[in-house]
């Protein structure tokens, strides 16, 4: 069998997804046996121009992690789309915008001002902001253009598959790689792979009551969390109900922490944050508008909490 041509790329991301690939441990050697890498910025030194020289559809598989936040991200997304047979949105940021897309709650100017002028550790008396083009003695210096908002990969180019997670579970990553390497029958285009259609509650073994009533929200630093009881029953917000399973329950089982929603929304809901708000609103046990208001205000950052990973693809999309 001839070796597969593959690559991995990071756009607006933290690098965790690449580390997760390495977390398949010694199996990476098997990947190496079966594949030739043509791009993997975190691990190997390839140049963009090398990729540009490849024929279209030359790459059998491209794992694209990170969101699209600037012109460089977009350029590479389009380039890699053209060069790849299978383009995979890999990890939460490529899937639904992830943490970087939380910036969509703000306007570009506000973000730049905050980061380059106002942060406590910054001294920038002339209030200089990064410019796409800067003229210096030697000529013109160009940097990528910072966009008004963050996009998920599929909002910019056509995507074949989605692998959710922040980062994706290494076991699931291996399953995906194995399927491609062995030439197994692949699911329909557009599928979310490495995750279940049912929400995380299906796998979660915690005791769930049948008369949930929320009288107030708590936070994990304020209570002793019972590892056997549903977080919602303890007044702790868990995004498990609006999140696909398949992650391996590292948070809820491993660390006794509620789900933050990184595996993204199950197939039949349209907006992860709005759906969770709708569900929780139904559970609040009060008919008094003032009391309800008080309960809701116990969550300091409603939007940030519920749209932590899914802002780019949500109904809200971005601040205008």
């Amino acid at each position: 069998m001839s070796k597969l041509n593959i690559g991995a790329y990071w756009a607006a991301s933290c690098g965790g997804c690449d580390i997760a690939v390495l977390d398949i441990h010694e199996k990476i050697l098997k990947v190496n046996e079966a594949c030739n890498f043509y791009l993997w910025p975190i691990a190997m030194d390839f140049k963009y121009e090398d990729v540009e020289k490849l024929e279209d559809n030359f790459l059998d598989l491209m794992l694209f992690n990170g969101a699209v936040r600037n012109s460089e991200n977009e350029k590479l997304a389009k380039l890699l789309r053209a060069k790849s047979k299978l383009l995979v949105a890999f990890g939460s940021c490529a899937h639904t915008g992830g943490i970087p897309a939380l910036a969509n709650f703000y306007k570009k100017d506000d973000l730049l001002r905050r980061v380059y002028v106002e942060t406590e550790s910054t001294s920038n008396p002339d209030k200089i902001l990064p410019q796409p083009k800067t003229e210096v003695k030697e000529g013109v210096v160009e940097i990528p253009e910072f966009y008004d908002r963050v996009f998920s990969l599929a909002q910019v180019v056509d995507v074949d598959y989605f692998v959710p997670g922040c980062p994706p579970n290494p076991e699931r990553i291996w399953e995906v790689l194995e399927a491609v390497v062995t030439g197994a029958e692949l699911p329909p285009k557009g599928s979310v792979i490495g995750a279940t259609d049912k929400s995380l509650c299906d796998e979660c073994e915690r005791e769930k009551s049948e008369d949930k009533k929320i009288k107030g929200f708590s936070r994990i630093d304020k209570v002793m969390v019972d590892p056997k009881t549903c977080f919602l029953d303890q007044g702790l917000i868990c995004l498990g109900p609006v999140t696909r399973g398949g992650c391996g329950q590292k948070c809820i089982k491993g660390s006794n922490m509620p789900c933050r929603g990184c595996y993204g929304l199950p197939p039949d809901i349209q907006d992860q944050g709005a759906q969770m708000i709708s569900s929780l609103a139904a559970l609040i046990d009060s008919k008094d508008p003032e009391e309800i208001d008080k309960i809701v205000k116990e969550v300091p950052d409603l939007a940030g909490y519920f749209y932590r990973f899914s802002m780019a693809g949500s109904f809200l999309e971005g601040s205008k």
């Binding site: 259609d197 049912k198 929400s199 995380l200 109900p241 039949d268 709708s278 569900s279």
Partner: protein, 657 residues
């Protein structure tokens, strides 16, 4: 959104006389929607709900072979049923229908005609998209439970209960106070006939107390209502009376001996009652309750006199509140009203000056069974020489209640007559307008004018005890204006009666949430239609009687109570009621078993399948409220006829222009 598959959609636009057509350009609407690719025919008519209108729809269904029907007219609350029946008659499933509200939600609330027309087109376009995914749903019928719940034991609740009980059906009558009777029991004479309230009320109270078909629960409150028309489940909290009514003979010795005295709410604080008390001597049931807050035994475990003197051994200090569940098919709300006590009372010296009374206080003073045995006296026991009656206190006043309380003019004229008759005092009535429409009301007004009552047209600004002249010394001085002579007036009197109006109960908002019937801005329950359905509410099977729907006098209250009982009896005699076929279901492959829906279902229609680890909806119990679909975090619970795709299609249709 998928491309539209259903191409035979008929759109029918109603003018509603000129209600819609005076704002919305119907011609333009019809022209615009005709161009939509899915629309086969678009027609308009003056009154689509009329027989010719309905026939027009039926004809087009047959001739064009329409697959979906849209009527753009008034609120579906008014005529959805009407048009669904047209579909059924034309052999189309009634759920292939969509009603677009271009009256209440467009014509009546949009001033700009172009915008109103655009809005109508947008709303109809939304419906055209929505009906694409409508599915046929089967008809569902349920049996009607023949028992009826009546909330409130005033004259409205009493009358409604008796009508239903006399027809042979079981009534649960729940009254918050220790006795039935309501406000009417506090009155002495009723206008315009001047017959005594007790003479006409107490026999009815007695009938309610002893009727074999009436389960009277006094000192009780409704705390929860679930279910739907024909099948409500109601939880009633029986507050502890601390008196065992099975044993109590009603001898009254306990009340005589009880040493704790508190201000009597029934007598408007004019006298005191005991901590163990009946509301009034003719109370039904005529057995006492202990007011736990003021009983020395229950607060300090001292005293215990009532227990010692009770020969029947009926006193039970250990009594606890009890929750009782009852099943009924319909509910009559007869929760009554409260007399307003607006802040403006202070300007008239109320609470500061002696002999300034509210209307209800005067009613008690004048009542033959009241604190003075019906003698109209001043605080010092003497008879007043002159009395002023001030109309519209807090009524017809933008600062308080904007509405007219309807009964005050007539009861004020009644007061004038009673004062003249019993004391011979001079009477000054300060009014804005005299409102006396009603059988024999105007004649009563004429009669009072002939009884030498001074009628002064003008509102009073102030009541003071600071004299300017010698005549005013030791008197209450009423300062106002006579608008007919354009003069300021100062009238020294001995007594001032403030005619306060009818106001909704303080807990109207709580009751509204409990029964799921909305209230208007003044806290009165809203009828399903102000003219054509004044007793029904938007909640099927729940009716309103008496003053909880707005100011009414006794004849109107009794009439509405009889109306409400007739509607309840209609349901019972029909025996079955058609209910919403749009129930919910759960997609097995998506349900993760989080159980959130089970917590939320108001009809307890969802169970957990322990084997499959998923939630399952019992369709017989499901009412199709959609709560589970809204709650379900993973999109597994779906509401028929309100599927996400239908709602998103609708939104897309609105935004497509």
């Amino acid at each position: 959104m998928a491309a539209s598959k259903i191409k035979k959609v008929g759109v029918f636009v109603c003018h509603c006389g000129v209600n819609i057509s005076s704002v919305v350009n119907i011609e333009k609407v019809v022209e615009a929607v005709s161009k939509l690719p899915e629309v086969t025919v678009a027609r308009d008519y003056k009154f689509m709900c009329s027989t010719p209108g309905q026939e027009l729809i039926g004809k087009e269904i047959k001739e064009q072979g329409l697959e979906r029907v849209i009527v753009a007219a008034c609120s579906p609350l008014l005529h959805e049923e009407t048009f669904r029946r047209v579909l059924v008659k034309s052999d189309l499933n009634q759920y292939f229908f969509q009603m677009v509200n271009i009256r209440e939600q467009d014509a009546w609330v949009t001033a700009d005609k172009d915008k109103a027309t655009q809005k109508a087109i947008a709303l109809i376009s939304a419906a055209v998209k929505r009906v694409q995914t409508h599915e046929p749903l089967p008809k569902r019928e349920v049996d009607v439970d023949p028992n009826v719940l009546v909330i409130g034991g005033g004259i409205a609740g009493i009358e409604a209960s008796l009508q239903i009980a006399d027809a042979g059906h079981k009534v649960y009558l729940v009254e918050k106070q220790a006795s039935v009777g309501g406000h009417m029991a506090q009155f002495d004479k009723t206008f315009p006939t001047l017959d005594c309230a007790a003479c006409i009320l107490t026999p009815k109270m007695n009938s309610v107390g002893f009727h074999p078909n009436i389960d009277l629960m006094t000192y009780s409150e409704v705390v929860d209502i679930s279910g739907y028309i024909g099948n409500f489940e109601v939880t009633v909290r029986k507050n502890p009376k601390y008196v065992d009514y099975e044993k109590c003979t009603g001898c009254g010795v306990c009340m005589e001996k009880c040493p704790s005295k508190v201000s009597s709410e029934f007598d408007e604080g004019l006298v005191e009652r005991k901590a163990i008390y009946t509301l009034f001597p003719q109370a039904v049931p005529n057995k006492p309750v202990i007011d736990a807050k003021n009983c020395t035994y229950l607060t300090k475990e001292k005293c215990g006199v009532c227990q010692k003197v009770c020969e029947a051994g009926a006193i039970n200090y250990e009594d606890k509140e009890e929750l009782v569940k009852v099943k009924v098919g319909s509910i009559i709300l007869a929760t009554g009203y409260t007399f307003a006590k607006p802040d403006v009372l202070k300007d008239y010296g109320y609470g500061k000056l002696d002999n300034v009374l509210t209307a209800l206080e005067f009613e008690r003073l004048n009542n033959a069974a009241g604190p003075t045995d019906g003698e109209i006296t001043l605080k010092d026991g003497s008879k007043p020489q002159s009395v002023a009656i001030l109309h519209c206190i807090g009524s017809r006043d933008k600062n308080y209640n904007e509405y007219c309380s309807k009964v005050c003019c007539m009861y004020s004229l009644k007061f004038a007559h009673l004062v003249r008759e019993k004391t011979g005092a001079e009477v000054f009535e300060f009014y804005i307008d005299i409102r006396s429409p009603g059988k024999a009301y105007e004649e009563f007004y004429t009669r009072i004018r002939e009884e030498d009552v001074h009628l002064i047209r003008g509102k009073v600004a102030q009541v003071t005890d600071v004299p300017v002249t010698d005549d005013e010394k030791g008197k209450l001085v009423v300062i106002g204006e006579n608008t007919l002579t354009a003069q300021r007036v100062r009238v020294p009197v001995d007594m001032v009666i403030l005619s306060t109006g009818i106001e909704s109960n303080k807990d109207a908002a709580d009751m509204s949430r409990l029964v799921k019937v909305a209230t208007d801005k003044d806290g009165f329950f809203i009828e399903r239609h102000p003219k054509m359905a004044p007793i029904e509410t938007a909640s099927a099977g729940i009716f309103i009687a008496g003053t909880c729907a707005g100011p009414r006098d006794i004849p109107e209250t009794v009439a509405s109570a009889q109306g409400a009982s007739s509607l309840a009896l209609k349901l019972i005699s029909k025996g079955k009621v058609e209910i919403e076929a749009a129930t919910a279901w759960i997609v097995e492959e998506l349900c993760a078993g989080c159980k959130l829906c089970i917590s939320m279902c108001p009809y307890k229609a969802i169970e957990f399948d322990e084997k499959k680890k998923i939630s399952v909806i019992n369709e017989v119990l499901c009412k199709g409220c959609g709560t589970c679909a809204a709650t379900c975090p993973s999109g597994a619970a779906k509401a028929r006829h309100f599927k996400d795709e239908q709602i998103f299609d609708e939104i897309e249709g609105v935004l497509s222009l």
